[in-house]
Symmetry: C2
Subunit: 494 residues, 2 copies
């Protein structure tokens, strides 16, 4: 006999998005079951943001101290690779999720361990995860099911690739020791961060990019500058090439390397190959077919994160799987909006955009609490390489493609006193994209040490559509690096 339990809301996937939804719903008195197949805490905590940043910070601060006269004299040793790795292990709680689990249970969330999948409307079946697929429990849902199962590394169809068991972000953030050499397929945030992290820990790194520069979705100066830094450090970047084939390891050798054949006729030899070319949504085992959706697809949602194409207005999707922006902070933001929408709908104070005609006129005003409106205009991202990279909103190219009357304003951070006080010989660059018709910032991109913490002012300016003439009166303190915002506006002509 299969156990059946009733909950107001069932959340499948316990990463930051799923946790945020769960905390918010349970805090308002709704009963919540949170289904998790792996570790409670998800990809971000155990295999992505947290371990990568834990690895990246020690080399960053050693570089910082080495670039401050008077302080650098205190440095006589090297980074301890062993201690950096054990720092990483501490930040992921040795891959033990009891702390995260306890916090959720203390808040009143019921954790159900196992593989959850939909079994028709408002019904979730959880199977044991030990492989026998035995049903554990059926969860009957009164209000909503929230899918937040995230994504996994895409393994492209390259001859020999799968067989060689390449690294994904999980191996790259979790490795127990630094490989002698590492090749990286992919030139995005994960590829660049891991290139820097393992180079810092002594690995010989080669980045394989099919574009003419790395980080090609960002402003061109970002990839160009980071490539120059990589080159200077001895991180090799191969551009405009594709991996054709990965030859099997020759197991007659000790620690046999991989031979990675590229489409320009050359080859790269490396002990490990990290694949970081994109993400695949974890939607293949969710029973989407039982509710009219296609397993393996990204899930389309409206601004309340309500899934489109599903009858009855009960299915939501937050975080990576809705493909709006695959970033932890965006997932958490969607989760806050989604939880607010579920609560408002449970109380009848918010209707559904899909039920035409029944929607009160103000329900979907663009910046209400139950809509993740910022997803469309102000998605910030920080890449924790050294130098850091920070961006939000549109690039120049993106703005022009939207036919915006664009003005580009640049500032060379090198001349900023606060930056030079921070590290001697500071180098960095900042750009804002201004909508000239509306006199508002629509995009910002920075590269330089510690620019990650300089981004939020731009995110506010874009999100809140602050006219430049008013923003002008927000004075950054002297001599902070935040004065970059003053100089950008001065360069604009204010």
């Amino acid at each position: 006999m299969v156990l059946e339990r009733i909950y107001d809301v069932v959340v499948i996937g316990s990463g930051p998005s799923g946790q945020t939804v769960s905390f918010r719903l349970t805090n308002t008195g709704l009963s919540v079951a949170l289904v998790e197949n792996e570790l409670v805490g998800g990809e971000c905590h155990f295999w992505a943001c947290i371990p990568s940043k834990a690895l990246l910070r020690p080399p960053e601060v050693v570089t910082e101290v080495s670039e401050v006269e008077g302080a650098k004299q205190a440095v006589h040793g090297m980074l301890s690779v062993e201690s950096v790795l054990s720092r990483r292990n501490k930040f992921v709680d040795q891959w033990d999720d009891s702390k995260e689990k306890r916090a959720l249970e203390k808040a009143g969330v019921t954790i159900v361990r196992g593989q959850g999948h939909l079994a028709g409307p408002r019904r979730v079946i959880v199977c044991s995860k030990n492989g026998d697929n035995k049903d554990i429990v059926t969860l009957v849902v009164t209000q909503a099911v929230v899918l937040s199962t995230g994504s996994r590394a895409t393994i492209p169809n390259v001859k020999g690739l799968t067989e060689t068991q390449p690294w994904t972000n999980r191996d790259a953030t979790g490795a127990k020791r630094a490989p002698n050499s590492l090749a990286i397929m992919g030139d995005g945030a994960v590829g660049c961060e891991m290139a820097h992290a393992w180079w810092s820990l002594g690995t010989k790194v080669t980045v394989i990019s099919k574009h003419d520069r790395i980080l090609n979705k960002l402003e061109p100066f970002v990839g160009e500058r980071l490539m120059k830094v990589f080159k200077h450090r001895g991180i090799s970047v191969r551009t405009n090439v594709n991996v054709m084939e990965v030859e099997p390891r020759n197991h007659k050798q000790e620690h046999p390397p991989l031979n990675i054949r590229l489409d320009d006729g050359t080859a790269i030899t490396a002990n490990e190959l990290l694949v970081a070319v994109g993400r695949t949504p974890n939607t293949d085992k969710l029973g989407l077919e039982t509710v009219g959706l296609k397993p393996g697809d990204w899930i389309q949602v409206d601004d309340t994160c309500l899934a489109e194409g599903v009858e009855g207005n009960w299915l939501y999707a937050v975080g990576d799987i809705n493909q709006r922006a695959l970033l932890t902070h965006i997932g958490k933001y969607q989760a806050r909006a989604c939880a607010t929408a579920i609560i408002a709908r449970a109380h009848g104070s918010l209707t559904y955009s899909t039920s035409a005609g029944s929607m009160p006129s103000n329900s979907y005003e663009p910046w209400n609490k139950w809509v993740a409106t910022a997803d469309h205009v102000a998605v910030p991202q920080v890449i924790f390489t050294d130098p850091q990279i920070a961006s939000v909103g549109l690039t120049e190219e993106g703005a022009r493609s939207l036919k915006i009357n664009v003005r580009v304003v640049d500032y060379e951070i090198d001349t900023l006193q606060g930056a030079n006080l921070h590290t001697d010989g500071y180098t960095g660059h900042a750009r804002i994209i201004v909508n000239e018709d509306r006199h508002v910032i629509v995009g910002a991109t920075l590269i330089g040490p510690q620019v990650g913490e300089l981004l939020h002012p731009a995110t506010i300016a874009i999100t809140c559509e602050i006219p430049l003439e008013r923003l002008w009166h927000a004075i950054p303190s002297f001599p902070t690096m935040s004065e970059v915002w003053l100089h950008l506006l001065e360069n604009y002509g204010l």
Copy 2:
């Protein structure tokens, strides 16, 4: 015969405020003479912000690296005091102003060296500064005179104090070696920064405060926490005491110390005594009496920095001497507004608030480019102690005294993932003051490592009066420290 020259504008004092006015005016084609009696660059560049931050950063980054597991293993030595001091010397260009002078002259500003003073309306006489007080030149002004002579350390009337030639900010930021011991009269930003700086460089430091805590104009938690840190490090803080008398050095001893007698009957012995109890405006030698103002007084100005109580609308005062907020970035902000007002008035597009009836209705709208409106609501300040302190707008007490319907929201930064990734065991605290009637932030205060760069979002929110419900949609990146702004809004109840 005295030389007479005609300029559109004469600026007296070449600190950041005077320079900013000069650059802006000369860029629009007005002829500008900038009069400077000491080094071109002023107090901030040579004897205040720049040298103090140059001294403070090396110990800060050594502490940072020592608090990151994996990185701290690279540190085996001590800060080099000698190198820290020579770093400071480099930032102040060895107290040589040719670089600053060249930049101004290149822009078209005429530098006139000497002591400038008013000689009636629109007339400035510059005397030689070599003590003979011989007139060099008379400057006749067509548009405006801008006073920006700044301030100097106030030496209070304490028995024996002047005779012992105490340190001011100039000595404290410029000392060639670390004294064995240093007593500091005063518990504000200068006192606290210099206490930390010299303690870092090996000096035994005692802070003498007449209040029950240091930094008593800020939120109470700031002073309380910094006092705890100081105590832990061995920086002594004596509260609720006043200096009664400073006994003369006994010159029979080698390096004779000072004996500083307090009004609680105790005494402090120290090699040097820094006086940092307030500032006195440099207005005593400006010839203010020739235009109806009182020498030695602060100069009252309107929001365009036009001096009040002077006939004819031609005298402006920017920076410290108008007493609105004695901070470099505020001086520069006023200078930008002031220059804009002078230009607009030169072109007849802006009238004078003092000429009642003639003012177009929109000239003084609160956030125009020619008014320094933010002075009234959003003055940011960063104190570069370790931990850093950052504040903007009102404290709780300040807001309550204005009868604002206040809500105080706190957040313990210790629990923030971005902060812990930055330094293991991060400790800090953040507070916002919300005007509950208008749902906007009116004040923010933070303490913790590197919080200086976290302040600007609050400055924007306050200046631009962003409703919290909209600010909510500005997403900080994970895992940055900027997420403090998310957690504060969550704690508010969003």
